[in-house]
């Protein structure tokens, strides 16, 4: 193999499809993540539409119960694992190196591998639509409904195998960002000078590193139960279905913070910029993020208050869950404190950030009401919870992500998004989201359980459901306006300059879009809100900064080279996982395809390790330095 890889040179093309496939540039990978995640966001949004249309009127027969169950399963699975998480990853990729003054992430090829593995895992799960065996046990896939006698077909296998592939992608990305943030900060950027978004990314990445192994254990056990007849969750064989719930929620609750902390980081960047005031109580906002990250591990059983863990366990998890509202509340107060006495400019990113706070307050408050386990006994598994999670995930995460898109779009493209369309986009989404999700609080309190595909009109749920379904169209219009705005602005948006918002972050010191090397000279960070300090000092000296850091010849700066091997290795991982979907009627070796996948992945890793450093086909000593 060594000789083979020696003769396979680094890929050298700088443009075209091939350059995207072999890229290791964090900015390109960020764009790939963002575009892919947005596709899945749209797909999951259409699935939500099917759910809302089926429930718009009682006794509806628009879709069968089978299809309905597939829709809510895939809606949540795609939104969580293939839309919100990777949209966060898109920002991590694009922004973090720029925000810490680095030229790339610590492991550029691992970064490319993360993206391709994510894409392949997402495609693997969605292949289930092609073969008409779609996962239908919910995004939480509670055992033992997922065991063979109760879920025949390949749906659950697609789900479990696809998530394991996605888990590999998340873990690789998370390790990469922990190392990047800790090791690659520009000189002068101490931890307490890191922008809030970098802090929240660090905490999110640590949570990911710790949380994904837990769900992976559960997924492997589930796969073993289904393929090899083990009895981890199979009650008929003495397995314990509650074990799955513990594994799932020990992962699942930190996962909630994995979804929301990046949005909190974005909002903590946007609010000071558009209030022209530093973040109020920066250390407290940082530490409350850390506290949320730690306490997020102590609350998982509040998803299991009705499981019968007993009053002692329920008491403990009631108190810990209620207490997590404190650091969350502190963040909200500090954000309001940031605006207080400021000079607030209501540009679209700011509107989305304000929308985030306004809606997250609602989600936080309803969260306290089902943190209380006796009260939760009436709310668990009802639409009240559906309302809550959409206030924190749509009102929170999605609003935060949209704020981030509008905020950093000029950095990524050199153009501004249209303000008028942006405001229309915001108001449609804000109003639509409230019309859709606020009535669900009442539906839940009036006794409507989640995940029911139909209801009769004698339960008094009709008009609230109709209202919620009507709201969907407003939301849909909001997202459509966003798409129009995005496409228009990429082509014809107003040219933004390098620093359209007079922002404090390092990323705004360089050109828009950034040159491939990011920083011509590694910056010396002078403090928290570095660029504000630099600009104010320059203004005071009567010599205001008007342009970005000057371009230099990219040839003079050593950058990581493109590589074939990340996509090869990721493809091997895909074949390895997907191979378990095809059982051969052979003795001993029932699943031969995973071996092929393993071999491909092994070749990928071997090529990766032995790859020459430079794009030219070097031989001999240079490749083995």
């Amino acid at each position: 193999m060594a000789t083979a890889t020696d003769v396979i040179a680094r890929p050298a093309s700088a443009s075209g499809l091939w350059s995207w496939i072999t890229t290791v540039d964090h900015k390109r990978i960020g764009i790939l993540y963002g575009v892919t995640a947005f596709m899945f966001f749209l797909l999951a949004g259409v699935e939500a539409g099917v759910i809302r249309m089926q429930l718009a009127v009682p006794d509806n027969t628009l879709v069968s119960p089978d299809v309905f169950n597939q829709m809510f399963t895939m809606h949540a699975t795609a939104m969580i694992f293939m839309a919100i998480m990777p949209m966060g990853a898109a920002f991590f990729n694009y922004i973090i190196p720029l925000a810490i003054g680095a030229r790339d992430v610590a492991f550029p090829r691992l970064n490319a591998f993360s993206y391709w593995t994510f894409l392949f895992g997402a495609l693997l799960i969605h292949t289930s639509f092609v073969v008409q065996q779609v996962p239908d046990a919910g995004w939480f896939s509670y055992a033992n409904l997922t065991e063979k006698p109760f879920s025949t077909g390949l749906g659950i296998d697609f789900w479990a195998l696809g998530l394991q592939v996605l888990g590999v992608a998340s873990l690789a990305a998370a390790f990469n960002f922990v190392v990047t943030i800790i090791n690659m900060r520009a000189p002068g950027m101490s931890l307490m000078r890191m922008p809030l978004f970098v802090w929240m990314t660090l905490i999110t990445s640590i949570l990911l590193v710790l949380a994904f192994p837990v769900i992976t254990v559960g997924l492997i056990e589930l796969t073993f139960d289904r393929l090899f007849g083990t009895n981890f969750f199979n009650t008929a064989g003495g397995g314990d279905p509650i074990l799955w719930q513990h594994l799932f929620w020990v992962f699942g609750h930190p996962e909630v913070y994995i979804l929301i902390l990046p949005a909190m980081g974005i909002v903590s960047e946007v609010l000071p910029t558009f209030s022209k005031k530093p973040l109020f109580g920066y250390p407290v906002v940082v530490f409350s993020g850390i506290v949320i990250g730690i306490m997020g591990w102590m609350v998982w059983s509040h998803h299991m208050f009705t499981v019968g863990l007993g009053p002692v366990a329920n008491s403990v998890f009631t108190i810990t869950t209620m207490l997590i509202a404190v650091p969350t509340g502190v963040k909200i107060f500090n954000w309001i404190g940031t605006m207080w006495g400021g000079s607030i400019d209501f540009k679209t990113p700011m509107l989305f950030a304000l929308g985030f706070i306004a809606l997250f307050i609602v989600g936080g408050l309803s969260g306290v009401s089902h943190a209380v386990s006796p009260s939760d006994a009436q709310q668990q598994d009802t639409y009240y919870i559906v309302a809550h999670i959409h206030y924190v995930l749509f009102g929170g995460s999605i609003m935060g992500i949209f704020s981030g898109i509008y905020y950093w779009f000029p950095k990524m493209t050199g153009r501004l998004m249209n303000e008028g369309l942006g405001k229309l986009n915001f108001w449609l989404m804000f109003v639509g989201m409230n019309i859709t999700f606020f009535p669900m609080h009442f539906l839940g309190l009036n006794g409507m359980p989640r995940r029911i595909y139909t209801y009769t009109s004698d339960y008094g749920w009709d008009w609230l459901n109709l209202l919620a379904s009507a709201g969907y169209f407003v939301l849909f219009a909001g997202v459509a306006v966003f798409l129009i705005n995005f496409i228009k602005s990429v082509k014809n948006g107003q040219v933004s300059g390098h620093d359209p918002w007079d922002a404090p972050g390092l990323e705004w010191t360089i050109a828009s879009p950034p040159p491939v090397y990011n920083f011509a000279k590694v910056p010396q960070v002078v403090g928290l809100d570095h660029y504000w300090l630099v600009k104010r000092r320059a203004e005071a000296e009567g010599n205001p900064i008007t342009g970005p850091e000057a371009y230099v010849d990219p040839e003079t700066i050593h950058m990581p080279n493109t590589s074939y091997w990340p996509i090869v290795t990721a493809f091997g991982a895909l074949v390895l996982a997907a191979g378990f979907l095809v059982e051969f009627p052979w003795p001993y070796i029932k699943f031969p395809i995973p071996f092929i996948g393993g071999i491909i992945a092994f070749i990928g890793v071997l090529g990766w390790s032995l790859e020459p450093a430079a794009p030219e086909a070097h031989h001999g000593s240079e490749a083995h330095h």
């Binding site: 764009i31 119960p65 169950n69 509670y142 033992n144 409904l145 109760f150 509650i242 209030s275 005031k277 530093p278 109580g281 009705t306 019968g308 009053p311 008491s315 009631t318 209620m322 207490l323 404190v326 502190v330 107060f333 500090n334 404190g337 605006m339 207080w340 006495g341 400021g342 000079s343 304000l354 306004a358 307050i361 609602v362 306290v368 009401s369 006796p374 009260s375 009436q378 709310q379 668990q380 598994d381 990524m412 050199g414 249209n418 008028g420 369309l421 009442f442 309190l445 009036n446 006794g447 359980p449 029911i452 139909t454 004698d458 339960y459 107003q494 040219v495 300059g497 390098h498 879009p513």
Partner: protein, 393 residues
């Protein structure tokens, strides 16, 4: 593919011209949301919210009829008002800050404050105290409603509830204090004013037992013996349904609790399992029912050994499964887990094609009386079967 243009210096003050009059639409919308219109909108929203909390709805958590649900509701109501106050204060502060500190033309750079320790400690400590207070009360309530009160201890009715995909089995180990055992399905009959302790079991997947007006839900987990208790203060029908996703017909796994006066309850217990009076047609139906009896019992209490054998057969892929006990079928108001009223027309629809009433049910899938989705009995036989079922009282 994004084509990224190079950065250009400069930042024109005016946006490009638009054909669509977006700004004027936004402006007129903004003008609309002022004064009387805003007030009218506020009143409309507030009245909608009031209408939305519907205590009369069949499964409303606001229309409580027993001590467990009442204590849960009290806790929620207090939390709700705390939430409303916090909501108004925090959203108010947010809105005030947004309006008060909006950017004005020619405004200089605002004062660059970085924090305020006293303020930050205050808004950490106050919520902590508030939350711990509510938390302590929550824990007290939690223990209070965990078990029936000592005063009711010597007069508790025990019921074993078994969740099946997708119906409910109710077994009374001692329905009348004299050791009378009863097995029935989908309609739980209890005397008014008496504490009922429910043992929750499942022989397939996880379900959740929930009667919103009487008690919050507790999951029905195979391998566990969860318990729940409730007491109904008034005679009437209370509705419940499975609250944990349990497969294709999860939405159709309903049940009702019939709270009877002591006399009515006693009469039902005394009459249970008596040899029914059968007409000639019903006799004919009884003969046909022999096919059905591989899954359904119609002649009294279920034998646990028989039920287990049905479940084992199902797990092994045989066309058998535990099915509702039909002994007191004709006394029930509904069948098919609360979906259809018991009458001839509905029973004919059900027997001809159960999926017309309850898609995904096991009977349509497994019963030997169907072949390619068509019933093998003649309509005359179906009538006889209905006659038999309606005699079971």
């Amino acid at each position: 593919m994004l084509i990224l243009p190079p950065d250009r210096a400069g930042f024109p003050a005016q946006g490009p011209s638009r054909r669509f009059p977006l700004n004027s639409i936004l402006k007129s919308t903004k003008q609309w949301f002022q004064g009387k219109n805003l007030l009218a909108l506020g009143i409309l929203v507030a009245s909608l919210l009031l209408v939305a909390c519907d205590a009369n709805a069949k499964q409303s958590t606001f229309g409580t009829a027993g001590p467990v649900a009442e204590k849960q509701l009290l806790l929620f109501n207090v939390l709700l008002w705390v939430m409303v106050v916090v909501f108004i204060l925090v959203e108010g502060a947010l809105l005030y800050a947004a309006i008060r500190f909006r950017r004005r033309p020619g405004q200089p750079l605002p004062k660059q404050t970085h924090g305020n320790t006293v303020l930050e400690i205050t808004w950490t400590v106050i919520p902590t105290i508030l939350i711990l207070g509510l938390g302590v009360w929550s824990v007290i309530t939690l223990f209070e409603i965990d078990k029936p009160p000592a005063s009711a201890a010597d007069n508790i009715l025990d019921v074993t509830v078994t969740g099946h995909q997708w119906w409910w089995e109710f077994e009374y180990p001692d329905a009348d204090g004299n050791g009378t055992v009863i097995t029935t399905a989908n309609e739980l009959r209890v005397p008014v004013g008496r504490a009922v302790e429910v043992l929750l079991q499942s022989d397939d997947v996880i379900h959740s037992f929930w009667i919103p007006k009487l008690a919050g839900k507790v999951d029905v987990v195979p391998t566990r013996n969860n318990r729940l208790w409730f007491l109904a203060d008034e005679v009437g029908t209370f509705y419940g349904q499975c609250a944990e996703f349990c497969g294709i017909a999860h939405a159709q796994m309903k049940f009702q609790v019939e709270v009877l006066s002591q006399e009515e309850y006693d009469a039902w217990v005394a009459g249970y399992g008596q040899e029914p009076q059968l007409s000639a047609e019903a006799q004919q139906g009884k003969a046909l029912f022999a096919t059905c009896s591989s899954c359904h019992t119609s002649t009294g209490v279920d034998d646990p050994v028989v039920v287990d054998a049905r479940q084992t057969a199902f797990l092994n892929g045989e066309p058998r499964v535990p099915a509702p006990n039909l002994t007191d079928f004709a006394t029930r108001q509904t069948f098919a887990a609360g979906l259809a009223e018991v009458n001839r027309e509905n029973l004919r629809i059900w027997l001809n094609n159960p999926d017309d009433i309850k898609p995904g049910n096991r009977m349509g899938e497994l019963a030997a009386i169907y072949s390619d989705g068509e019933i093998v009995f003649s309509q005359q036989d179906v009538s006889a079967l209905i006659e038999y079922l309606l005699s079971l009282k």
